[in-house]
Amino acid sequence: MLTIVIINGPNLNMLGKREVGIYGGKTLDDINLEIKENADALHVETEYFQSNSESDIVSFIHECNGRVDGIMINAGAFTHYSYALRDAIASITVPVIEVHISNIYKREEFRHKSVIAPVCIGQICGFGARGYILALKSLLNESTYNLWPQQKNKSRKKRKFLVISGPNFNLLGDRNIAIYGQGIKLENIHEQLNDVAGNLDIEVEYYQFNHEGDIIDNLQKSTDLYDGIIINAGALAHYSYSLRSAIGTTLLPCIEVFLTNIHKREKFRHQSVISAVCLGSINGFGAKSYVLALDALESLTNTKVKGA
């Protein structure tokens, strides 16, 4: 059985009381309970650690090395300046996922930079408690997709999601293989999404465009056709304000994904101009970034949930 550790940093013990518009009304105990329920269903063991002290977190990370199978960390404000934390993460061999409850790219500028991002596998932000569950799933392998049971929703037509990949993704598998991987083609990602969509009783439509205008045309037509959007805008994410406006005007829930950990790459890739109009961002998990985004959108728009 896998053991995953959930670390929460400073002030996260105050969840439910502070800035609820941004963090929501759930307490840390509520969130931990939600993670635990999901982890149990996925046959994963979890441990929880919260501290307001940087040194305590650093020591705990050291202590996890070799003992656990994965760590998800919401380092709170330490994210933005704690090089000690960064070094602690870099010093261990356990995979670490960075999680944020809020979409840090919608907030003050100092929060846009994460000093721990380059030493983490990837980053998930903007999905509240769901972000931890996505992180948990990101640490599992593909065969566990069928462990994501969802109720079939007979009361309405199938939800349909639009998946757009931007310029150069038609070359996936052939270009920059050190970064994007070899052999994984966009078609493979689409097949993977199809499998998950079938399991979740939803539909997914895929497009890849090299032209910014084509993406915008497609987004403009999307509002009445889809229930949500997943977009991997590639390089356009870093400068296209036209794309940003087009996403904003759809009014649909949109999630930004990147195959790679953009914070490990060239500086111009660290900023995304479309993040602020997206619910959240997922980067660094390869094809799984798309799958996690689909999971987040499915969960948000699933109107037939447990307890209904």
């Binding site: 009304g25 229930d227 649909l252 949930v305 307890g307």
Partner: protein, 248 residues
């Protein structure tokens, strides 16, 4: 559908009182509904069933300190919150959520980019999209400029309805606020198709004659929705309003 009479309820005792006083339904806050434990919710649900009363309306769309237009407002979290609310609300007969809080939609003064405005519109759109699956309408109430700087009159509500383009998005009105939002006499007729909920409250000022006139206009436009009375309203007050309305 005929006119229904509702009152604001804050607890199970209010539900009992409303039922005994002859109200058709109660109006509860979303916050109250969401924060109840499963056991408490089932108790209230059973109580309503037993007393043959339901909760046609839920108010206070978001908790008091939440501002949709603020930087970092987490749409994912709050749509999820409203989903929980909608699941429970639809189980007790709810047909409408009312957004009457000014602070929650206050736009920052320096919203030059219009980004905050976009965020509010997206939130409304996504809320309507969610609620339609539970057959619940979202109603926004125009408020005075003292209360908020966003949606200050019925014309702005209409414009917003056109932007959102959702069948389950309409307006609520407070009779006490009409002059503050510049609501004119012929607006009842002009906007009758979007006014789906009316708050009555004469606890602060005597408006008996005004109510006769207002009810007259509402009858003229064939208003057949809901009148909601404050928490303090009792049987006597309900009969008082009903008498004015029915005798016109």
């Amino acid at each position: 559908m005929n006119i229904r009479w509702s009152k604001i309820a804050k607890n199970s005792n209010d539900i009992l009182l409303a039922s005994n006083d002859g109200f058709d339904s109660v109006e509860m806050s979303i916050d109250y509904l969401v924060n109840m434990s499963e056991e408490e919710f089932l108790f209230q649900k059973n109580l309503m069933r037993e007393k043959n009363i339901f909760c046609e309306t839920c108010n206070c769309l978001l908790p008091k300190t939440v501002k949709v237009a603020e930087d970092g407002f987490n749409i994912y979290i709050w749509i999820d919150y409203l989903k929980k609310a909608a699941i429970r609300a639809s189980g007790i007969g709810c047909k409408r959520f009312v957004w009457s809080e000014g602070l929650a939609r206050l736009l920052p003064e320096d919203d030059d980019s219009g980004y905050a405005n976009e965020q509010v519109i997206q939130f409304i759109y996504m809320t309507c999209e969610l609620l339609k699956h539970y057959k619940i309408e979202l109603l926004i109430e125009p408020l005075s400029q003292k209360q908020t700087n966003y949606i200050n009159n019925i014309q702005e509500v209409k414009q917003l309805i056109d932007i959102i383009s959702k069948d389950n998005f309409a307006s609520a009105l407070s009779i006490n606020n009409l002059s503050k939002i510049g609501f004119e006499e012929n607006d009842f007729e002009k906007f009758s198709n979007i006014i789906n909920h009316i708050y009555l409250d004469d606890s602060k000022e005597s408006l008996t004659s005004n109510y006769s006139q207002i009810f007259m206009k509402l009858k003229k436009v064939n208003y057949k929705q809901l009148f909601s009375l404050p928490n303090s309203a009792n049987k006597k007050k309900l009969e008082y309003y009903k008498e004015i309305f029915n005798n016109l």
